[in-house]
Amino acid sequence: MTAMHHLRLFFAAACLLLLAGTARAELVIDITRGHMKPLPIAVPEFNAAQPAQAQVARDIAKVVAADLERSGLFKPIDSRAFIQTASSLQTGVRFPDWKQINAEALVQGQVEATPDGRLRVEFRLWDVFAEVQMAGQAYTASSQGWRRISHLIADTIYKRMTGEDGYFDTQIVYIAEDGPKSNRRKRLAIMDQDGENHRFLTDGSDLVLTPRFSPTAREITYMSYYRGVPRVYIFQIDTARRELLGDFPGMTFAPRFSPDGNKVIFSMAVDGTSNIYEMDLPTRRKQRLTDSPFIDTSPSYSPDGSKVVFNSDRGGNQQIYVMNADGSGVQRISFGDGRYATPVWSPRGDLIAFTKMKGGEFYIGVMHVDGSGERLLANGFLVEGPTWAPNGRVLSYWRETPSDERGRGNSSRLYTIDLTGVNERQAVTPVDGSDPAWSPLIP
């Protein structure tokens, strides 16, 4: 084989390779932008198997739609725009009808009574454009439990569409206030997170403060003054029984439960200083965690129970500190201007919410657990006391508006806000309220 031959061979091979290379490669396009809008979702009336359930079927759909809308992430479509009627859904979903009104998701449900007089609710969540079912569940409960079923359905839809755990099957406990400012009556009150099922737990004869939920969501601790001495009660929600945890002279905030429910953590002021203590509930043994001549107060556990966040003025002014659950390794994490108070660790473990006072204004903010990324979400004349919803996505707090020059108009209301800082909403309460605490998901 001559060199020329080799060369021709090589040339031919190169041509072939080149030709092969020009074969079409599949087109890949990067999509890096879109928009963030509330997801349009259609929640038609649930279908009632018997006419007696028709009202419940309508109510369940209404509560589900209200929950989703309140989260700020969904936009239930007005039922007057529906093309396919709710009743005809039973025979089959006509997807083009729902595509036409731009519903990205559709909730279809059915309610029937079981032979033993209970309620059975089943629902399906449809992806309208892909024409597939995304979720489906059936629930059975007593006929009074239809609200909880609605919240559970809303939680399932929320989780499937956003990936986040829901928070609709929860309750909020707070201090309901009424009466003139000089003679305020404060009562412990509890309600569903949508404001329904509201009831008062105490009668207002004693001053009550700072309620907190236990991890089981079935108990509340709160502080009350008895003959001037602060004492801590544990209140069983289901039985309405109240148990005295003890008298704690010098206590300023009610204790918080540890994530496993066996311990409570609190601060006590003794001789001008305030330190953090932990009490083991079964044995009632107290252990002191901080030992400084300064004011350490408002402690809160991390969701895994290994760390505690609190505020202290040992650095000169009120700032936020993190330490191990045994009291060691105290580290300051907030360094901004102003005063930081009431830190609470998010149930997701990634953020700490706090109250900040600066320049005469109050703020509710969040920061990462190392203190970075501080973001202020709400501000006002007085906003205080953030509490996390169990999915770590929504916060509740209370906002006080000052009275005008004639001394009227002073009010104190509960608010909720999304972690992104949008969707600030007032929670519906019968009278003024303060000091909210959000329950975990009800088991």
């Binding site: 599949e26 396009i29 928009h35 992430l73 454009f129």
Partner: protein, 293 residues
Amino acid sequence: MRRDSYIFSGALHISIALLSVFGLPWFFKEPPIDDQPIVVDIVPLGEKTNPPPKQADNPQPEPPKPEAKPEPAKAEPPKPTAAPPPPPKPEQVPLPPEPKPAPKPEAKPEPAKAEPPKPEPKPQPDTKSKSKAQDDLESLLKSVDKLKPKPKDDLDKLLKTAEKVKATDQGNQPLPQSVRGSASNNPNEPVSMTEIDMIRAQIYRCWNIPAGAKDAANLIVPIKVRLQPDGTVISAEHAGDMIRYGTDSFYRAAADSARRAVLACSPLKAPPSKYEQWRELTLRFNPKEMVGQ
């Protein structure tokens, strides 16, 4: 002799001062920003994406009169017109008499897209002020970035207003107020965009991103799309990690939103002549830019 040396010294001092005041910043000037234009309107296809020319800032348009044609008031950008502007097209509504010299095309809100805008091969007037200073588009991008914790819809508003604007003739007509030009305009070519940018622009409008997701940096979702020649989506399937789809609820939410976006956007507008190029696509959805933590 001493006076001469004073004069010389003074001149040297002044020249060095002048040099440092005017010359030194040249060292610290940033390289020109590589302009990635946001395409908000569907304009004719071409070999590359050539956005409309950047205009001087225009005053706000007058509020549209109810019965009259909603005509945005435009300040005539001071452009020396090399060629006479093209005569107004016959279907355009006659303009009210104006003191301005050049007739302007109407930006009609009606879907009068019957006449596809012809790319005019006229040389455009030299665009003034291709200033490397703040590009309107760049500042819009930056403000959208800053708004990550509070996602606002500025971009959406821009998209919406641009949608109402008819795709006007390219060439030397000044553009409607809501169309912002770009400094990377090549005045010698008609305004155009590639097929890729055209498809991208449509998907941008359809994609509703789940907000506040955790680990948004890690949420790249590939969707395999097959299309008919008229742009109808035959199928849009998640082509990524199926195990992750089954276990990571955030990834699944993002993947579903991506698939929904493609299906909702059907039919896609793309040039039928190049069907072989875009009949099978992989779209990589990446919400990182939009979702901040």
